[in-house]
Each structure stands twice: as C-alpha cells, then as structure tokens.
C-alpha cells in the first residue's frame, strides 16, 4: 500500500479513490479549447455538450491528488500510453464517480512503468461509462543516467 505518499511510490494493487464530481460546462469547454477541438459538442451550448473521451486523463490527476497528497515525487512522469473505451455519452450535469487501481508496475530498459486502470461510473444510473488504462514512465532522469 503506497497511497498517502507521492505518486512515484504507487505500486501494484494500490486503489485510488473513488472520487465523485459533477461534470461542468466550463470543464468541457476549457479542456476542448486548450486542445483546439472547436466542435459544437465540446464548445457549444450547454445542452449540446458531451465529455471528450480524452478528459478522463485529467481524472487521473484528480485521483493522484486524492491518493497522493505528497505530490509527484522526485521525478517527472512521462505519459506513454492512453487507452480508452467509451460505452455511452457523458453529459454536462452528470454526477460521476471515478476509481483507479494500479494494475502493474514493472521495469523495462532501466525505467519504471506504472499502469493505472480507471473506471468512470454514472452515479445516478450505476452504469460504467468510461474505462481507461494509462501507462506512464517514472524516473526519466535516472533512466537516462542508467542508459
């Protein structure tokens, strides 16, 4: 169990969250604006907005903040892989619950890899709406020295 410390200490089996929040129009529009997705479904009227499937990646930071109050740790993370499956639309105003679990931590070529699986559930319906697997490389600097 490595929760309660820093992100770089997270280990296989650690559970992050769950954390609940309500999806706001500001979040959808602001995120989409930052990545130049100017489609009406992301930057239009409130009733037209849906959650970009990529926004789940920021729920990872929500879970980190909740589970790792010590912050990032000694080294920056390098995001290596994004893998999402969206089962149904997530709309502004939906109450959501996100939960994560570290499903693997391993070394390859002198670098530490951490795999986080996250599930986003609609609180009102209890339905799984998004499943996301995130793979990061930790300790990029020490890996470079080791190489």
């Amino acid at each position: 169990m490595a929760t309660g410390g820093v992100v770089s200490d997270l280990d296989k089996g650690d559970v992050l969250g769950p954390v609940e929040y309500t999806l706001s129009p500001f979040v959808v529009r602001e995120y989409s604006h930052a990545v130049e997705m100017h489609h009406p479904c992301f930057q239009g009227r409130e009733g037209d907005l849906v959650m970009p499937p990529t926004l789940i990646h920021l729920d990872k930071l929500r879970l980190y903040k909740h589970a790792c109050p010590g912050g990032t740790g000694p080294s920056a993370r390098i995001h290596f892989e994004y893998n999402v499956e969206v089962f149904e639309p997530v709309r502004v105003g939906d109450r959501l619950s996100v939960r994560g679990e570290i499903t693997d931590r391993y070394q390859k070529n002198g670098r530490d890899y951490v795999v986080l699986q996250m599930e986003l559930t609609n609180v009102a319906t209890g339905r799984l709406v998004v499943r996301y697997v995130d793979r990061v490389i930790l300790a990029y600097r020490s890996a470079e020295k080791a190489a």
Binding site: V35, P53, L58, R62, A143
Partner: protein
C-alpha cells in the same frame, strides 16, 4: 455518411500544425484550471512541457509536448470525419513513440483498416497516428468508431 469513410484504405488528415510553445502551455494551464473548475485561469509548478530548465533537469533537451495533445488532435480528426457520436461511444488507444519538441511540425492522420457489423450499425476500425513533416511517426494507435 460518405462511402469513403467506411472504405478500408481511406485516409484522412488534419493540416500540418507546428507544436508551438504556446500549444504546450495551453495544455499545462488547462490542468489546474479544470481542477479548480471556478471559471478562472490557474497555473501550476514548472513542468517538462513549459519550462526548459526543469525539462533539462529531468534529462530532456528542452520542453516536450504532453502526449495528450496529439491524442486530442487524433480525436478531433475522428469527430471531423465521423461526427459527434464518436465522443459517446468509441475506443481509442495511443502510444507516444517519440517526443514532440518545440516547433516540430505535426500531421494527424487516420486510415480505415476494417469495417464490421456491430449491433444495428457498423464498427469502423482505424489506424491513427501523428507524424512529423518527414513522415516519422511520433504517436501511433488504433481507434474504433461506431456508425
């Protein structure tokens, strides 16, 4: 829907974009801004995406783009081609196979690889990727959209 969107071998792309310092910073600033969700801009500590000195301390030659920018550009292309329903049901996997440095030209592409029956509609499978102006792949992946 135009037949070519469901024709294996069909390719789609976005116009080339330089990965400017500003584009990298927009994503950095979006993260604390979205976390706060109060309608105001927030900033965060230096990152490898917006601070050269910090990036060099982490073993990098300078700032690099957050991988989620290229993933979002791929998602934007899929929505351009297949419409907003992609945001409500899809699969998307991306890997960041090479760093994207400041002012590097990025071309976002997708190619239909297969179309199969799925429920009452079809599942369209695609290879998706971002490449530089020499054709070197920077981000690779696969997507499935349901039409």
């Amino acid at each position: 829907m135009h037949a070519e969107k469901l024709e294996p071998g069909s390719e789609f792309s976005l116009p080339p974009r330089p990965m400017t310092r500003e584009r990298m910073r927009w994503y950095v600033d979006a993260q604390p801004t979205i976390a706060a969700d109060d309608g105001r801009i927030h900033t965060q500590e230096p990152t490898i995406h917006d601070d050269d000195e910090y990036a060099r301390k982490q073993g990098l030659p300078g700032i690099i783009a957050d991988g989620m920018i290229s993933t979002n550009w791929i998602l934007g292309l899929l929505i351009d081609v297949y419409g907003p329903d992609v945001a409500g049901r899809c699969k998307l996997r991306t890997k960041y196979v090479a760093p994207i440095y400041e002012d590097q030209i990025v071309v976002t592409r997708a190619r239909v690889t297969a179309v199969e029956p799925s429920g009452e509609g079809k599942a369209c499978r695609l290879d998706v990727w971002c490449e530089d102006d020499a054709g070197t792949k920077l981000t690779t992946g696969e997507a499935t959209v349901f039409v």
